[in-house]
């Protein structure tokens, strides 16, 4: 077997076997999964309980029938969500009626009561009294129902009724069509999120693995294993093997997360289909295979680029504390990519966006965003991959030179002129 691969295998196995890795890889999806199960359970339970028994004081004497019609939605279990009871009152008797209803609400007879004023058609105002006025779901449905009921009454007063009515209440849809070289296709709006998902995934995986990886590079130097290994492999092979090994571990972790999240999403999708609330599923885009291939390739290349930067820092510093301090700028680079994402999203085909998405440090996030929304030509995608690979190779070339000198030096951190001299030494 190739020596670099032997080093990579050792690095991968050592990393994957640590308790920290196993815990993070398994625990995170377990927590998220548990959270989703919890939400689904709560939502379906809350849905069953969201029944409301309302008293309605209709001083306008014309809205109540229309309101009953609007609030006739049924719950999944077949029961009506709203039970409405009209309570007669005159403006003069209103205070007394309200006092009685308040007592009944407190006693639990009604969930709450609505007061529809006489001038509701002009004022567009009504009052809702209840113990709990923070149930936004209920309030929203009620408000929407009142609005429709009042409109219905207005239309009727204007002489429009019967079969003509439904067309006034038809829901409006805007269909977005994306123009591409291969004709027009449906928009894949949700795909934009992929770039961010990749960015954040990369960020998390780097936070978890980057520093420990850099620490292992420093440790190998300080406890002098490096010299033993270098008796069999050259510095480039050693570092490249380590970087490939840690990238393999990161990919394993990411795959576990992505696959388990997909399973949870499928579960949540099935659950909301059953609950008849699958509207959000229309947001899930249908993506071409290129997007998925790019996701895996760019994740791996992106991790390699950043891991090689960590290796470079590890090769220069001589203690773990120094390594901790020096990792900040690297993660900032990734954060910068996420921030630039906003610019790229709004003008994905501008020259700036194209150039930024080709830069190896930003490509994983920005190219991933552009692929679904901007349909960049294939050469741009492949070029970004190639540039990432070249960047990894170059960084590792320089790093291995620094490393050769670095293993034999201990003590203070070298300054820039000293680093240049290190490059010449080896």
């Amino acid at each position: 077997m190739n020596k670099t691969l032997i080093v990579a295998k050792r690095e991968y196995l050592q990393r994957v076997r640590t308790k920290g890795f196993v815990i993070f890889t398994v625990l995170l999806p377990a927590i998220i999964g548990g959270y989703i199960f919890f939400i689904v359970a709560v939502v379906s339970k809350a849905g069953a309980n969201a029944k409301a028994h309302l008293a309605v004081v209709d001083l306008s004497h014309q809205v109540f029938p229309a309101l009953r019609h609007e609030l006739s939605d049924k719950l999944p279990n077949g029961q009506r969500q709203f039970r409405l009871e009209e309570v007669a009152a005159t403006p003069a008797a209103l205070p007394a009626v309200e006092a009685r209803l308040r007592r009944q609400v407190l006693a639990g007879k009604f969930t709450g009561f609505l007061v529809i004023p006489a001038d509701v058609l002009q004022s567009n105002l009504a009052q809702y009294h209840a113990k709990n006025v923070a149930n936004f779901n209920l309030l929203g449905t009620m408000e929407h129902g009142l609005e429709s009921a009042v409109t219905r009454v207005r239309l009727k007063n204007a002489g429009i009724a019967g079969a003509q009515l439904p067309q006034f209440f038809a829901t409006f849809h805007l269909h977005e069509l994306k123009v591409t070289a291969s004709g027009e296709s449906k928009n894949t709006g949700g795909a934009v999120v992929l770039g961010y998902i990749l960015g954040f995934l990369l960020y998390f995986v780097l936070i978890i693995n980057g520093v420990t990886f850099m620490r292992s590079v420093v440790e190998e130097k300080t406890n002098r294993v490096a010299e033993v290994v270098l008796a069999s492999v050259d510095a480039f092979g050693l570092l490249m093997g380590k970087v490939i090994g840690v990238a393999g571990a990161a990919l394993t972790q990411a795959l576990v997360w992505v696959v388990s999240l997909a399973l949870f999403a499928a579960y949540a999708g099935a659950a909301s289909l059953a609950a008849g609330k699958a509207g959000w599923m229309k947001q899930v885009p249908h993506l071409g295979p290129m997007v998925y291939v790019s996701f895996v390739v760019l994740f791996l290349l992106g991790f390699l680029v950043y891991a090689s930067l960590y290796a470079a820092v590890g090769a220069i510093v001589s203690s773990e504390q120094e390594a901790q301090q020096s990792q900040m700028p690297i993660t900032l680079l990734l954060v910068a990519a996420l921030l630039m994402g906003f610019t790229v999203l709004t003008t994905p085909n501008s020259i700036l966006a194209v150039v930024l998405s080709e830069i190896p440090f930003f490509a994983p996030v920005l190219m991933m965003m552009r692929i679904p929304i901007a349909n960049p030509p294939l050469w741009q995608i492949v070029l970004s991959w190639a540039l990432c690979a070249v960047a990894v190779w170059l960084i590792m070339k320089v790093t291995s030179r620094l490393y050769r000198v670095g293993i034999l030096m201990t003590g203070k951190r070298p300054n820039l002129p000293e680093l240049m001299r290190w490059l010449r030494y080896s």
């Binding site: 080093v7 002098r224 033993v228 270098l230 069999s232 492999v233 030494y425």
Partner: protein
């Protein structure tokens, strides 16, 4: 000096120099390690031994000069022919002994079955077989040292380069190491070892190279070097005040250790005269003529150079 053209040189350095910034670690070093020899690279601390070895291992790149291994310029590939024990030891402390040795065996290109066989044999040989499934950091320093040694011989390489191999070993394990080294020599391996302990080199090596401040002072077969120096030295065991040795007739130099002294005789001096002179003044319990020790040879060779003092300090440290 004794420049007898040896057997085919398996490691050869020609005019090798290396400087760190303004410090010259090695300058113009020529070296020829004959195949099958136990070759000692000697010198005080900081004389350039480790730098030389690191250049042979292609870990450092020389500023000037050529290094040839098995008649080919040294490169990454020539590492396969060499087993290396660095001066500063280090292992992956969180790995199990067996896993670690298998990793290094794989790096040396061994197949799985062969690796398992050799790992078991060697662990058996150094009496650590029952530690195979323990982690390195559970082992004592001496045990780690032995594991480290196994790493260097695991690939059964024709050349073995050991930087201060016995440092940190107790006498029992130092003995074990010597046995193994002699056994490897009879199997035709070439062994290049560095040490600052002259008496260790005297026991083990058949060839030596003395370096001082990065320059070769003398090299050749140990027997030839000592023969050339002649039996011009005497060991005097005594009780009493050793101060009289310095004023005795025919004495050029004295290394007084309290219970005995090594006396370098002036050219043409008669040992019998010296013995008679001493007998009347101190109690002489032993008197033997001998070839000069490596230490004396070294001191003499460096003596002419202005840097004799630190060299002497360095070489005594090991006693």
């Amino acid at each position: 000096m004794a420049e007898a053209e040896p057997r085919q040189a398996i490691v050869r350095l020609t005019g090798v120099s290396k400087a760190y910034g303004t410090v010259r670690a090695v300058s113009g070093l020529d070296l020829a390690v004959p195949e099958g020899a136990v070759y000692g690279l000697l010198g005080p601390n900081g004389s350039g031994k480790t730098t030389t070895i690191r250049m042979i291992m292609n870990i450092l790149v020389p500023d000037a000069g050529q290094i040839e291994i098995q008649n080919r310029p040294a490169d990454a590939k020539s590492k396969d022919a060499i087993g290396y024990l660095p001066e500063e030891r280090g292992l992956y402390t969180k790995m199990k002994v067996g896993d670690l040795l298998h990793f290094f065996a794989e790096l040396k290109g061994l197949g799985k079955a062969e690796a398992t066989r050799r790992v078991n044999d060697w662990l058996e040989r150094v009496e650590l077989a029952e530690w195979r499934d323990k982690k390195i950091n559970e082992l004592s320093k001496g045990m780690q040292q032995k594991i480290q040694f196994i790493v260097s011989v695991l690939g059964d390489p024709p050349i073995l380069i050991l930087d201060e191999p016995s440092s940190g070993l107790d006498p029992v394990n130092a003995n074990l190491l010597r046995e193994i080294l002699l056994e490897l020599r009879t199997r035709g391996k070439t062994i290049l070892l560095s040490t600052h302990r002259m008496e260790e080199a005297e026991r083990l090596c058949d060839h030596i190279c003395l370096i001082h401040r990065g320059e070769k002072v003398l090299d050749g077969e140990l027997a030839a070097i000592r023969a050339a120096a002649g039996k011009s030295s005497a060991r005097v065991d005594y009780r009493g005040d050793g101060g009289v040795l310095r004023t005795a007739p025919g004495v050029a130099e004295v290394d007084d250790y309290g219970n005995y002294a090594e006396v370098r005789l002036a050219p043409g001096a008669d040992a019998a005269v010296l013995l008679r002179y001493l007998a009347g003044r101190i109690e002489v319990t032993g008197f033997a003529l001998q070839e000069p020790t490596l230490n004396q040879i070294f001191l003499e060779a460096v003596g002419g150079r202005e840097a004799a003092a630190p060299a002497a300090a360095g070489s005594r440290e090991g006693r």
